[in-house]
């Protein structure tokens, strides 16, 4: 018999969730709130190790989603639930609104149709604006602006704290999170037996939320091959805090068939984000940045908002979106195998995650399993990382400023390291605290962080004690 993880020994879970991206975290929370015993299996060293770590952090309205699509339904449901629970989870909402900007007559001509589709999608707060009226709400826009469509409901959230809060709530309800645990094979015989890199796990049902590996996991579970993942890379540039004043709202381009295009938007952390690109690739692991592409993004940003020209670059990153061979979300339920696949969540996963979790529970209800009783929802309050609300450095007795660029205190870092879902790697620590994410990228604080995180991260910041 293969080795079984000690925490899962002798135990059959109600639901095993494969993948701890934003969708997996939301699904774990929802099932745990329904009273299910859940286990989350993550191949990476931490949550958000794949597609979910790199996105534009926009809470979408669904104004540009395909009418009648599952994606639209999920975005709307997910958004509504986020707005309903965010106070109780301590999650931020930066109410920026967005401007879909047209820069020529051809683009202007499309705005009316985009607005009409948005209304058909049930989205309020859509308003066609002249260039002057648009600039009144965002004075930094370049003079070449032709017209704009205002979408008042597009907002900014913290893309890392939200999924962390979802999973934390699941863990507080007894959910188990297994990192560095890759699904090798699953067999269904009344219950599921999941063979993983860390031993066997038994569960009544499985939910595939494996993102970039959604098709692979379906295959390993022996489920019919319904779709193929076609990774789409997006590169981003993060500009210095000084840029924030120039971009108080989300600036969207008129979309093309392929992508929503390059967005210039504020972040909850007080920066400005430019991106993403949309580059098809085979590789599901590497998301490289390229100097030429990053320069082109910087140039495009300065064309849209001229004051951004020459603005210092704080960070660059790239992510892979789990696009598939179809534009639609690939959601399948197989009651006879008690399996649900939430696949092909190509670009709106952050907004749709809570909606997809509701959908998974709805599909699961059709599996004919006995109902569970709902426990009271535990209180979760994550430390606030957003600039719209007070942060720890403003509170008394924080002890010490460790990261001066992002104003991160020692107390915050210690709290993250000792939390219910602690960071598994340096990226995870950065996403939980913002430490070393600022303009100096750790020039001042990384040595201190190396010391504070000794023995706590899978890839340590320091290889060893110095020789002499």
């Amino acid at each position: 018999m293969p080795h079984t993880p000690s925490c899962t020994a002798q135990k059959t879970f109600d639901v095993a969730i494969i993948g701890a991206g934003v969708v997996g975290c939301a699904v774990a929370r929802r099932f745990a709130l329904e009273g299910a015993r859940v286990v989350v299996i993550e191949k990476g060293g931490d949550i958000l190790s794949g597609a979910s770590k790199a996105n534009s952090a926009i809470l979408h309205t669904g104004f540009d989603a395909p009418p009648g699509s599952l994606e639209l339904e999920m975005v709307r449901a997910g958004r509504a639930e986020y707005l309903a629970i965010r106070h109780s989870l301590g999650l931020p909402l930066v109410e920026t609104g967005a401007l879909v900007c047209a820069w020529n007559p051809a683009e202007t001509a499309k705005l009316e149709a985009i607005a009409a589709q948005g209304r058909e999608n049930g989205v309020d707060g859509l308003r066609l604006l002249t260039a002057a009226a648009a600039r009144a709400t965002l004075p930094g826009l370049a003079p070449g602006l032709a017209a704009a469509l205002e979408v008042a409901g597009e907002h900014i959230i913290d893309p890392w704290s939200a999924p962390l809060a979802y999973l934390t709530q699941a863990v507080m309800l007894g959910g188990v999170f297994l990192r560095n645990t890759e699904l090798i094979e699953g067999a269904f015989a009344g219950d599921w037996t999941l063979r993983t890199s860390a031993g066997d796990i038994r569960a009544a049902s499985v939910v595939n939320a494996a993102g970039l590996y959604g098709d692979t996991v379906d295959r390993r579970l022996g489920l019919p091959a319904e779709f193929a993942i076609r990774p789409r890379k997006g590169q981003f540039v993060v500009l210095d805090k000084a840029a924030f004043a120039h971009v108080p709202r989300i600036v969207l381009p008129v979309p093309t068939e392929i992508t929503k295009g390059v967005v210039v938007c504020p972040t909850a952390f007080g920066n400005v984000l430019v991106g993403p690109t949309a580059e098809e690739q085979e590789d599901r692991v590497r998301a490289t940045v390229e100097a030429g592409t990053l320069r082109a993004l910087l140039q495009r940003a300065a064309e849209i908002v001229p004051a951004l020209a020459g603005m210092p670059v704080t960070a660059v990153y790239a992510g892979l979106r789990p696009a598939s061979d179809s534009k639609a979300y690939r959601v399948f339920a197989r009651p006879e195998r008690r399996a649900i696949t939430l696949g092909g969540i190509r670009s709106t996963g952050l907004s749709a995650a809570l909606g997809l979790a509701q959908e998974a529970v709805r599909l699961h209800a059709g599996f004919g399993l006995p109902a569970t009783s709902r426990p009271p929802a535990p209180e979760v309050r994550l430390p606030n990382l957003a600039e719209t609300r007070p942060r720890d450095w403003q509170q008394p007795d924080h002890g010490e400023m460790v990261c001066h660029c992002e104003l991160v205190t020692r107390r915050e870092i210690e709290a993250a390291l000792d939390s219910l879902v602690p960071p598994g790697d340096f990226g995870g620590l950065r996403r939980r605290t913002r430490a070393a994410m600022g303009r100096c990228q750790g020039f001042y604080c990384q040595a201190r962080l190396a010391e504070m995180t000794r023995g706590r991260l899978s890839t340590p910041l320091a290889v060893e004690e110095a020789g002499s």
Partner: protein, 408 residues
Amino acid sequence: MSGIVDVVVVGGGPAGVAAAVELRRLGIGRVVLLEREASLGGATRHCGHSPFGMREFGRVYVGAAYGQRLDAEARRAGVDVRTGCSVVTFDAACRLTVTTPTGVETLAARRLLLATGAREMPRSARLLPGDRPVGVVTTGTLQAGLAFHRLMPFRRPVVVGSELVSQSAVLTCLTHGARPVAMLETERHALAPAPFRWFPALAGVPFHAGVDLLDLRGAGRVEAVTFRRADGAIETLDCDGVLLTGRFVPEASLARQSGVALDAGSEGPAIDQHGRTRNPRVFAGGNVLRAIETGGWAFREGRAVGRAVAADLARVVESGAPRAVTCEPPIKLVVPGLLTPGSDEPPAFRHFQLRFARRARGWLSLEIDGREVWAAERSWLPERRVLVPIPPAAANAATVHFRFREHP
């Protein structure tokens, strides 16, 4: 912290301490020095190799000892030294928001002196390609890790850069059991002066100039670096880290966020011959003005600006109308980049400091109101200080311009 103090100095490196001490020596009553780290010294605290203090204190200090001497000087002079205090922002009237270990405080000052220093450009701002693994660090991070925590971030790094600091970084590696795999420079020649630039070869570290960095690989930690050599060949080196050296930039974010105008060339606060920014209450000195000079240079510059602030305190604040000093490529920066007319105070800066953006051969000349008053012809190298005396007439001129005629 109540009441209005005379001067707040932000930054406890050589420039900030020298300014604060000079202000006290000249009889200024309340001088507060804010340092966000736990001790004074700035970057000198972790520079294990460079000797400091010869000219200012008549003896040599290494690393933290120099900071301790600065601390002793400041306290002896009656400077109100406050460490662990990070300035978040300040307004045009010099009201500062400061976070301290116990909470947020506000502080008002009649004058503010920014001495926030410089740092190396990180991987992101260099737009380096590839993955973003653990193990890509700057010299500052390496040396701070060793000096304060005895931690080493890698064993076989590729060193990027060939400035003086790069040579020091290689030495740091070698003396702490790390073996640099190679030293790469994107410029066509090593940037450090001889004999320092010969050091990697003597230490057996292969040096490649004129390279293009093509890829940086690593899932968790750095695994390999791929680059195109000057001869076009593509080479991949296995390594466990990348050490980014040099490419210093002023740490001017506090100034930028607080609305102090920056100079496009230096990326530090634009200052006039007294060290005064476009906000007449705010001064700046040391390596925040331009990257970078030695600790001793920063010390003397801080002292000179401190003197100018002391003189300024005796006057009514008025926004003089400073004029911009102009220059043309490949001149990268001129400090001071402003000149305020009609001032009879002796200036803090007696020279223009220039830097070139690249290696160039040709005539450098200074023109005042269209008339050439100074010229020199030679090869000009990047990252080297060029000093041109500020003629007394410059302050009252309509135009002050540095021209460059490059030899074909």
